[in-house]
């Protein structure tokens, strides 16, 4: 509820600051520190940058003296309130391992300071609301962020001046304050029009006991804000923007802007809504204790989309496209709002002055609808529980299956296609598909692809490690009931489909023909060889092919799609599940579609760089999806033309 506005004379600003400081609350506001505008602690109104304004342009920013003597004459500071609500570095957990091999995880407990943000620009308030949706509004929550937000008050100030890089009016976030504030002020020559936007704000306003705003003051304030709006004009047309942009993934402008873009990440660092992070490890020399820390990262860095074997976004043009399409298109799919609030920081603070308004205008129209995915799991970024290795079974020279007895029984509820995060103290967490749940243990088949995976399969029975999950959306096996089932796996891709095989064979009569087509590199690289005869006995056609073989191999040699050559599903309703390297999945999907399996019933499991596993760190984004949370299993039709596209 909004109460009537009051008028706070300029000389009384300290009364407001005093009220905010009550109970040990720290007031944070714009202030000048060594010639730079920053958000920092405000003791009194004297600390505010009265008499200053700024001159912002693409790639250029200067503070200038303002004759008007406004207290809040400056636009958004170089860096926003994100520093206080979502700090650049925050502890996640401490992972410890004793000499005996016992492993423990201690999650960081949020300890937020009580803050009041004073003099917050409307775009900044809007950014807080966007981050509220991203970090605290979905199925999973960043506890540190939520705690910090709950412990803060927001005193916003409407804008009566627009900078050259401002476009809040286009994004619908300013120049007036409309939501998300406790108090809102509009600065006039001799004071402030103040209104409340929350219960806490009403109480503050009541205690200030201000005189009512005169009709003149009201008119002046309204006109001043309207002036700021008029000065901006409409710079970004948001109508249909999501679709217009997603339809231009092949626009030549992406390559052109990449000629200018430095991929330095400044735009994402100064953006008040960007939330991508990485987990940094700080271990002691023995790896006995590792502090895990959440750190700001960016989709522009070289490691951000890297997995063992390659980088999904190696080029600057891939990264720029990722960033721009996320802000203005896929963010809408994920969070039902744009990821941009029009503060203009990415324009001002781009070292080479790239202007998103110009890029959006150059990269434009028509469209196609992409579906949304439903998240289905539970978890938080630090909720590891300790698991014990029951057995380690070598499958091939570089691949072993670990049976893990989890400390938390919730992990045993993992459904086919879901994955878990495996954490050995001192090593980065590994996303691993569950290859079976049986006998109170979670079976994970892991290939030694790097140090962490190598160290994991080197564990002995009795060793401990951390598990988190089950995570992600699994296979929709319901869609296969009463139909032919075609399971196509390549290499280690047999692991994530084994739970389908287990499920189908358990209820064999519910399905019609069941075919497994498995491609491996060589005969020695085949997984689960001992089980295959059993699968065949239980009513499944098991076919195999290898890329190359010696004369001792009497089976087929060639590519996995050759196993489907003789099949035709036009008259036999079928559901297919496909896992393997992306190129192999593309070829298989094309073959299956040609042979009559509709793309709605061809499911794939995608690999991307996953760190948090619950859609909060941003690494695994692919278009509108976070692969970890919305996938990793998808119907090919859900992916639209993103499937098989380079650099997404």
């Amino acid at each position: 509820m909004v109460t009537d506005a009051g008028f706070l004379p300029r000389a009384d600003l300290d009364r407001l600051i005093g009220l905010l400081r009550e109970g040990g609350r720290t007031v944070i506001g714009p202030t000048l520190d060594d010639g730079a505008l920053v958000y920092a602690e405000i003791g009194s109104a004297d600390d505010l940058p009265t008499g200053w304004t700024d001159d912002a342009a693409p790639g250029r920013y200067r503070l200038v003296r303002d004759e008007g003597q406004r207290t809040f004459g400056l636009g958004p500071p170089p860096q926003g309130l994100k520093r206080f609500t979502f700090p650049s570095r925050a502890p996640l957990a401490v992972a410890e391992r004793t000499a005996e091999g016992a492993v423990t995880f201690t999650a960081a407990v949020p300890d937020p300071p009580r803050l009041a943000f004073l003099g917050v620009r409307p775009c900044e308030v809007a950014a807080l609301l966007v981050q509220d949706r991203v970090l605290a509004g979905g199925p999973f929550v960043d506890e540190d962020y939520r705690a910090r937000r709950q412990a803060s008050l927001v005193v916003a100030v409407a804008c009566t001046r627009s900078g050259s890089t401002c476009f809040c009016a286009s994004m619908g976030t300013g120049p007036e304050v409309t939501a998300g504030h406790d108090l809102a002020m509009t600065e006039l020559d001799d004071g402030f029009v103040v209104s409340a936007g929350s219960r806490a704000g009403e109480q503050l306003l009541a205690r200030l006991a201000l005189p009512a705003v005169t009709p003149d003051q009201h008119a002046t304030a309204t006109a001043a804000v309207a002036g700021a709006r008029a000065a901006q004009g409409r710079q970004v047309v948001t109508t249909g923007l999501r679709d217009r942009l997603m339809d231009q993934l092949d626009h030549p402008r992406w390559a052109e802007v990449a000629e200018r873009c430095l991929a330095c990440a400044n735009c994402t660092m100064v953006c008040p809504t960007c939330f991508c992070t990485s987990t940094a490890l700080d271990s002691d020399l023995d790896g006995a204790a590792t502090r895990m820390e959440r750190r700001w990262d960016s989709c522009f860095t070289g490691d951000f989309a890297r997995v063992a074997g390659g980088n999904f976004r190696p080029r600057r043009q891939d990264r720029y496209r990722q960033w721009l399409t996320h802000k203005f298109a896929t963010w809408v799919d994920q969070f039902d709002t744009f990821g941009c609030v029009g503060c203009g920081r990415c324009i001002t603070w781009c070292p080479v002055g790239i202007d998103v308004r110009e890029e959006l205008a150059a990269i434009a129209p028509p469209y196609e609808e992409l579906p949304t995915a439903t998240p289905v799991v539970a978890g938080s970024t630090s909720a590891y529980s300790t698991a014990v290795v029951r057995s380690v079974t070598p499958e091939t020279a570089d691949t072993s299956t670990l049976a893990l007895v989890p400390g938390d029984d919730a992990l045993l509820a993992a459904r086919p296609g879901q994955f878990v995060m495996v954490e050995q103290p001192g090593f980065p967490p590994l996303p691993i598909s569950v290859s079976r749940v049986a006998d109170g243990a979670l079976w994970l088949t892991i290939r030694a692809a790097g140090p962490a995976t190598t160290a994991t399969i080197a564990l002995r029975p009795g060793a401990q490690l951390g598990l988190r999950g089950p995570l992600g959306r699994g296979w929709d096996i319901q869609r296969a009931v009463g139909r032919d089932v075609v399971i196509v796996a390549g290499g280690i891709g047999l692991a994530p489909v084994r739970p389908i095989i287990d499920t189908v064979l358990r209820d064999r009569e519910k399905f019609r023909h069941v075919i497994l087509a498995y491609g491996a590199r060589t005969p020695a690289d085949r997984l689960y060889v001992d089980e295959m005869a059993d699968w065949a006995d239980r009513g499944m056609v098991v076919t195999e092919i290898v890329d190359r073989a010696g004369p001792e191999w009497l089976g087929r040699v060639g590519i996995v799609t050759h196993l489907l050559d003789q099949r035709d599903f036009h008259d036999r309703p079928a559901t297919a599940f496909v896992v393997g390297p992306e190129r192999m999945m593309e070829a298989t999907v094309a073959t299956l579609a040609e042979r009559g399996v509709p793309r709605e019933r061809i499911f794939v499991s995608l690999e991307r760089h996953m760190q948090c596993g619950i859609g909060l760190c941003g690494h695994c984004q692919m278009g509108p999806f976070f692969i970890c949370r919305d996938g990793p299993c998808f119907a090919v039709s859900e992916l639209g033309d993103l499937f098989g596209r380079e650099g997404i």
Binding site: G450, G490, G491, D547, G550, P551, R556, V557
Partner: protein, 160 residues
């Protein structure tokens, strides 16, 4: 070979199903149906190709020999597919060694007579060659995919 049997046998294969009745009948003039035991060498890499064949039953491995690695199977030919396409393409030498992996039956065409037939019967050529190119094209694209070595270990070259 009985003409009726042959037309039916050929029509049941992937390769033969696409050929016209006229073509299948003409081809019967120089064909025979032969069954080989396992481990029979049908073609030897580099030698003249002794026949153009279509596998109807069994499995044939196409192998190449690498010093110190021994024979490597590059592809297995499954029923319906061709063996010895090089009999129709100069210089008529086998591009790999073909060995039966299990007892296998092939429709085998005598190469010299088949080539003469194709030279004079353009209708036959026009129906056979596209099918042959399709078969070779499938092998080419499969070989490209194998070349990508998609299932290979992709660890980065960092030694720890």
């Amino acid at each position: 070979m009985n003409e009726h049997d042959f037309v039916a046998e050929l029509g049941a294969t992937w390769f033969g199903a696409g050929l016209s009745l006229h073509a299948r009948a003409r081809l019967g003039e120089c064909a025979r149906l032969l069954t080989h035991p396992a481990n029979d060498v049908l073609l030897r890499e580099g030698d003249d190709t002794p026949f153009f064949g279509i596998l109807t039953r069994g499995r044939v491995g196409l192998r190449m020999r690498v010093p110190e690695r021994g024979p490597v199977t590059i592809l297995t030919v499954e029923p319906g597919d061709v063996v010895g396409w090089s009999a129709l393409v100069p210089p008529h030498r086998a591009t790999s060694t073909a060995v039966t992996i299990e007892p296998s039956t092939l429709i085998e065409f005598e190469p010299r007579r088949l080539r003469e037939l194709l030279e004079h019967d353009l209708a036959l050529s026009a129906t056979l060659y596209p099918r042959l190119l399709e078969a070779i094209g499938r092998r080419l694209s499969a070989t490209r995919q194998q070349l990508l070595d998609l299932y290979a270990q992709q660890a980065e070259p960092v030694p720890w």
